[in-house]
């Protein structure tokens, strides 16, 4: 026994010893991921916060501290207040529409029917396909001259060609259009989330309710809905975070227009900080996303903790 132990070279033993300690190896294995995220998410995040209280632009890269002046300036700007308002309308409009579509879509897909698999596969598409590409397809469908939607409305006799709406050229319709595209993008996700929740409810719970005399709507709203609330909450958190901070749909479809009617926080931050090079004001605009994100994150943490108990 002694001879075998001595034949092993010493550095190797020490190395093995380190690799065999649970806590040391554990931290070694997790370190690269943590470092990557800290360096490229944590540090930039702090930089963004500092930018917002500095006078930094790409033409004058000084880091002089100006306090809350940037925030005061952008809040005083009616264009920014419009942007903030638009962001809420865009987020909640599309989430509500998406959830309604998702709930009914889930009810439809719950029942077996011939071709259900194919329909399910197709319904996932709006969420799976890169949103920038789908947005361009919608832009083409909303085209001022060759809109297939207008063509259909005219062919059905609902409107005449002279009164055909210019979807992306009218302030209210442009907002409606970007909301529709975003809701369209999220409703498959909502369906999948609802389906996952509903199918996880034990059948005997539903049977017991039916025996006790609960009808379709009652089962739906007093049993199914409360039981799928946690998973719905997670789905909604994702929806809100990704919509509230979105840039691509507005950038590709309307460029924030007409006259700022569809400008949202992400887009305004991009225009000011990247296109115009006014980094500090751009960062201040982007930071207005933070309160909403914090509320969402706190909600999520509470939910995760409750699940563990």
């Amino acid at each position: 026994m002694v001879a075998i132990a001595e034949s092993v070279p010493k550095p190797h033993t020490r190395f093995r010893f380190i690799l065999d300690r649970r806590d040391v190896l554990g931290s070694l294995l997790v370190a690269p991921a943590i470092l990557y995220v800290l360096l490229l998410v944590g540090v930039p995040f702090l930089m963004a916060v500092y930018y917002s209280v500095s006078a930094y632009t790409i033409y004058d890269p000084s880091w002089s501290f100006v306090g809350l002046a940037n925030f005061e300036q952008i809040i005083a700007d009616p264009v920014f207040r419009q942007t903030l308002y638009n962001t809420f309308i865009f987020t909640f409009g599309s989430q509500i529409l998406g959830l309604i579509l998702g709930k009914f879509g889930a009810l439809v897909l719950l029942r077996p029917f011939p071709g259900r698999k194919l329909v399910r596969a197709l319904i996932i598409l709006p969420w799976a396909v890169p949103i920038a590409l789908a947005t361009v397809a919608w832009q083409w469908m909303f085209d001022s001259l060759y809109s297939v939607i207008n063509w259909t409305l005219i062919a059905l006799g609902i409107i005449t060609r002279s009164e055909a709406p210019n979807w992306l050229g009218n302030q209210d319709l442009a907002m409606l259009s970007v909301i529709i595209v975003n809701a369209w993008r999220f409703f498959p996700f909502a369906i999948v989330i609802f389906l996952a929740g509903i199918t996880s409810i034990p059948q005997d719970v539903l049977d017991a309710a039916t025996v006790d005399g609960a009808g379709f709507w009652r089962r739906n709203y007093q049993i199914i809905l409360p039981m799928i609330l946690p998973i719905t909450a997670i789905g909604l958190i994702f929806g809100i975070v990704f919509t509230f901070t979105d840039l691509s749909i507005v950038f590709l479809m309307t460029m924030g227009g007409p006259v700022g009617a569809t400008s949202v926080l992400g887009f305004a931050g991009f225009q000011t900080g990247i296109v115009s090079g006014d980094v500090s004001h751009g960062a201040a605009i982007s930071l207005f996303m933070l309160p909403v994100l914090l509320v969402v994150v706190v909600g999520m943490l509470r939910f995760i903790r409750r699940r563990e108990i």
Partner: protein
């Protein structure tokens, strides 16, 4: 007809009506891509034609133009390179991290795991300003390598979380048996845990790839040189000359880029859902 029968027929009709509604809602924009990409321009830009099918014979002209006269193949290649590099970085970092968080660091591991996952929720539109400075300092501006550097910031959190659930579901007795048989702790991870998690690794590869294809904001911010663009950005922004949209070409490009992502999602959907809901449903 008895009243119950009328009610039943009505119910069936409204049910299939709802199926049809969702079918059209989800699929029509893609049908529109498909038919636009195969139509002659003279057919496309004529409002008296019925737009839902071919009035002139279908043509491959748009696809030919896309492959021969634009940078489309370059964008395809760029996206492939970006996808492969980001997948490699993600696997090398997320795999050990997920294993460690699932097995070795105890209750702190859970908290750390949630912490990493929350960074997935930090939006690109908050980070793009400082990150563009970081990229400029590194001399990567206007290069697709900036995306290789930045994309792991969301693929690592997502995939760590996904793999964590995967490792937790794997019985630890297997590795313990290997350790009893003389394997080191690290050896047990390499020789036992990794080979057994091949389905999880495959899921991560697919999702990392699709996440890089779907990304738009960072690509738009960091890359403006046409020959450095990934496919999503190239198709969405580079096929426009002044005010003229090349709709046939744009739709053809969008179609080609969409198909692999659509297939991947349909194959791996259940894993994706259990990934983001953290196994809240089982």
């Amino acid at each position: 007809m008895p009243r119950e029968k009328v009610a039943a027929v009505l119910q069936e009709t409204s049910f299939y009506g709802a199926v049809a509604f969702f079918f059209v809602l989800a699929a029509f924009p893609f049908y529109w891509m498909l038919i636009t990409s195969f139509k002659e321009n003279s057919d496309l830009y004529n409002v008296t034609n019925i737009p839902f099918w071919f009035n002139d014979p279908p043509t491959l002209e748009h696809f030919r133009y896309l492959f021969e006269k634009t940078l489309f193949t370059t964008w395809l290649l760029n996206s492939l390179i970006i996808g492969l590099c980001v997948t490699a970085i993600t696997l090398v970092t997320a795999l050990p991290a997920a294993y460690s968080l699932a097995r070795m660091t105890g209750r702190n591991g859970e908290a750390l795991g949630i912490g990493i996952f929350l960074t997935y929720l930090v939006p690109p539109t908050l980070l793009f300003l400082p990150l563009s400075r970081v990229i400029a300092e590194l001399g990567l501006q206007n290069s697709m390598w900036s995306l290789v550097l930045v994309y792991p910031t969301f693929t690592i959190p997502f995939c760590t979380w996904l793999l964590m659930g995967f490792f937790k579901a794997m019985p630890p007795e297997i590795e313990e048996a290997a350790i009893v048989d003389g394997c080191s702790l690290f050896g047990a991870f390499i020789k036992m845990a990794i080979p057994l998690s091949v389905p999880g690794i495959l899921t991560v590869v697919i999702f990392t790839f699709t996440l890089t294809l779907q990304e738009f904001v960072y690509a738009l911010t960091f890359v403006s040189a046409s020959d450095q663009k990934p496919i999503t950005l190239g198709v969405a922004t580079d096929l426009i000359r002044g005010d003229v949209f090349y709709w046939g070409e744009i739709m053809a490009g969008a179609l080609i880029a969409s198909i692999p992502v659509a297939i991947a999602y349909n194959l791996f959907l259940d894993r994706f859902i259990s990934g983001i809901t953290g196994g809240a449903v089982k």
